[in-house]
Symmetry: C2
Subunit: 269 residues, 2 copies
């Protein structure tokens, strides 16, 4: 069923108003009529199955048939930090990463980033990236739209890494690199153990989802200095196997593997 | 190091000849000179580190410095059968699937395929798809170029499925659908058990890699009838989790998960 993310103030009791592009999409693309049902979500607290009551070019109204629980989100919060790649590759990373359940994206600039940073153009690109995240979240039937943060510096990425339960830098094999699966299975085992300790001592299981920061480099990868700096800040250097992946493939493949490890790609082990 | 796939007859003893686009790429893009080293592979038996001896516009010669073992290939042979998607999405599937280690691709036509099949155009498209596979294999440092087979019918896919150790159809949740991880871990456990039985009885472990056929639908997915037909032919219906993936994302995510399960994405569990 078609889903739309709307703003909180578009909910008014049991009545929902859609406008702008959403109303246009509903009327022109979906050819919706009064009586048709869709799902709307504010991406935070409210999600509902609604029935269209009136529809016109610029505006549609719908009434709530059933409130839904927001259970489409993953049990692990993955943030993808992607050094700005060339062309429209970041769009691919955001679209595919959103489908695969990413919680947030942070584009950043590192030594080998070849894309010229232009603050004026950046506002436009951010708007575009956020629109791609919204549309991909709708298409994937997600309950939340992942955030796309402003373009950050490499220094910022290193600084915030400690806020995550696990921070991984996709890096080619060196002595300090460990395999992605080794790192993920260890981390997951630790979380499960901590949860069962909480339960055994009569406490609630850990309230929040484990958080993972996945850091992918630009076309030329990270410099040795950046890798050392990352390792010094507690970021794990993660190898993704013996085949060399393009920058945008690395981020997509890594989040697919994280989701698989956390039983989010269908089935359990 | 730059890699080139060449034909078997371009090897002559310890001398290698590069020509056409490869010679052009070497000279114009890589700006190579005599003394520079590259890796060449015939994609089957021979792979070597070679040193350029002469280089001109149309031809380069190089001599073998060291013969290499072809150990970049995955321990599982994954064939991606992809119902023809719109636009250039199959190019994305072939490029990313090759990077992630796919052994072969079979484009096919199913009920909901919206792309018009045109035999005349098809030859051109096949050439293009094969070129993308070759370039992606070079870029990913693979030892073999995955095959891109001619466009097949749905019936053909159903018929060949029994030739694989495991055939999976990416399908939305129904009662007959099992989760991808459940299916993969079971299959892998069975293979490992069969291997250890062989070893215990003094036989060699199974000679060939396990083979997996991953079948992904077109934009509209498979019909119920196709899913039933597949299940009847022993193809497992595999769910990829609760987020709905675009057709090209499903194939890429599924092969990443297979490779992860087989310890091919870095590290072991």
């Amino acid at each position: 069923m078609q889903r739309y993310f709307i703003k909180e103030d578009q909910f008014s009791g049991d009545v929902v108003t859609l406008n702008g592009e959403d109303a246009h999409h509903l009327l022109r693309v979906m050819r919706a009529r009064p009586g048709d049902q869709i799902i709307v979500s504010d991406g935070r607290e409210r999600e509902a199955l609604v029935e269209i009551t009136t529809i016109a070019k610029d505006q549609a109204e719908a009434s709530v048939v059933q409130w839904l629980s927001q259970d489409q989100e993953a049990s692990v919060a993955v943030t993808i930090a992607q050094s700005l790649p060339k062309g429209d590759k970041l769009e691919t990373v955001i679209q595919k990463g959103t489908e695969l359940g990413a919680a947030a994206f942070i584009p950043f600039v590192s030594s080998r980033t070849v894309v010229q940073y232009d603050a004026r153009k950046e506002a436009k690109r951010l708007d575009r990236w956020r629109k791609i995240a919204k549309e991909a979240a709708e298409q994937a039937h997600r309950s939340k739209v992942p955030e796309v943060e402003d373009v950050a510096s490499w220094q910022h990425i290193v600084e915030i890494a400690t806020q995550y339960d696990l921070a991984l830098l996709c890096y080619e094999k060196t002595e300090a690199t460990q395999g992605l699966r080794t790192l993920l299975t260890q981390a997951r085992a630790n979380w499960l153990q901590a949860d069962s300790r909480c339960q055994a001592s009569g406490q609630e299981a850990q309230a929040s989802r484990p958080s993972i920061l996945l850091i992918a480099g630009p076309e030329g990868g990270f410099t040795e200095q950046e890798a050392e700096q990352a390792a010094g800040a507690g970021i794990q250097l993660a190898g993704l196997g013996k085949r060399i992946l393009r920058t945008e493939t690395a981020a997509m493949a890594a989040i697919a593997c994280v989701m698989y490890e956390f039983n989010e790609m269908g089935g359990t082990s």
